[in-house]
Symmetry: C2
Subunit: 242 residues, 2 copies
DNA sequence: TCCATGTCAAGAGCAGTGCTCTCGTTTTTG
DNA sequence: CAAAAACGAGAGCACTGCTCTTGACATGGA
């Protein structure tokens, strides 16, 4: 059914894709704030007003790019995860963390688009939440499998406050019914940690301290694995960095 | 010597301040991307070109706002720290962390200005690094004092890689000659963690999980204190949240 | 086959932006 | 007191997102 669309529909789909591609190209050069509909149209040999048939507003184009970015990052994380044996939690976690950073470094402006300050006057529509959750779910999946396999080491920590316990319980219901709130809380900490480091690195906050930050990131990733209780490498598993 | 300046100099200083104030006001409403020189001028009863005598470019105005924001945040952190007894490391850490979050929540757009994605086409000049370091130094100070007092609990962790060891050694030279690289690395992790959480909260990434995130933040702050080895509360010290 | 319908790109135009340059006026300085 | 420097006003340039209208074209039903 994809091939048998009317000529107009095919043309429309193709132009939509071309617009996004060109916009992404400009995004990579100038950043989101400088994305100009007119420039995109110019580059495509169109007149600016023509673009409005495809994206009714600049924000709609941005939204499309945001969704694509979330999807690309999520796909990268999932692929890295899937490439590792299911019963190697730390290896999977390491792979996902590395994939996320690699993607971020390769697409800094797209990263900034989704994890940086919200674009001025732009309100993220509901359509973005599902793709946004993909990366997070990949991370959760690793810990979830470890938990199910009984491979997650216990980490002593004080009880959660009632509010936090309820929040995490509600969250667990949605994404990981088997995980206890304590583990989920640690997971949230680790999750924010990863993107905290990446944002600092990409936004230049680390310049003058640990820059380049490959090793710092790798080190922190291991400490985070410890923190959530992922078992250390087995003696036979391929170790991480030298 | 401040009072005896020429009338022109006083007028200039005052107008410069007024421009920044008005810009900050607009920032709080619309965000950095929408900051308009013309609008600021309009509000001040000036013609737009007149502003260029005070800030040669829009980016220069932004830079001034950025420096002010860093300074305000740094001052808030320092004040919170100073209000606690020097020999209560965890209390100080808790106070600093809370002050940072309070400031961020009270000035979300200014926070986004300094910790969000860099403004399009904007390159942070060198003048910003000193004010930017203030918050970080406040955090470091807490741990440093604890270390000097022998109050920092040891945390077992694998040796740092050579590169990371060298990076942290160099960093220690600058800001905390007494701290070992292992501690400084943990500090860096904690530092990025704090702002990772705040960015996620402010940029709407936490919506649907732990939002509002007061309790999550407070909980994480304690876990981070544990992580760097800050001693737990004494029996007599005023405990944190209920 | 023909024709009404809906879709399309183009073009002009509006209000807004950052920024530059010039021109009188005012203040400071030598 | 005169030369010099600093100032605000105004016009203007190139750009932006966006709207509205116009004429050409493909599509599907009679």
């Amino acid at each position: 059914m994809n091939a048998s669309r009317t000529a107009r529909e095919r043309a429309r789909a193709e132009l939509t894709r071309e617009i996004k591609d060109e916009a992404r190209r400009q995004l990579a050069v100038d950043g989101a704030g400088r994305l100009s509909l007119r420039a995109v149209a110019r580059e495509l040999g169109l007149v600016s007003s023509a673009l409005y048939r495809y994206f009714p507003t600049r924000d709609d184009l941005l939204t499309a790019l945001i969704i694509d970015a979330y999807d690309a990052l999520g796909a990268a994380a999932e692929a890295a995860d899937a490439a590792r044996p299911r019963d190697d939690p730390r290896g999977r976690w390491r792979a996902v963390a590395a994939a996320v950073r690699d993607w971020a470094l390769a697409h800094p402006h797209e990263y900034a688009l989704i994890y940086g300050s919200p674009v001025p006057g732009y309100q993220a529509p509901q359509d973005t939440v599902a793709p946004a959750a993909r990366v997070a779910l990949a991370i959760v999946g690793v810990v979830r499998d470890a938990w199910s396999a009984g491979a997650l080491e216990a980490r002593p920590s004080p009880a959660l406050s009632p509010v936090l316990a309820e929040q995490t319980a509600k969250l667990a219901e949605l994404i990981a019914p088997d995980l206890p709130g304590e583990v989920l809380t640690r997971l949230l900490i680790v999750w924010t940690q990863v993107f905290g480091m990446l944002s600092f690195e990409l936004f230049g906050q680390l310049v003058g301290s640990v820059d380049p930050s490959d090793e710092f990131y790798a080190h922190a990733v291991e400490r985070m694995a410890d923190f959530v209780g992922l078992p250390p490498d087995g003696p036979d598993s391929t170790k991480g960095p030298a």
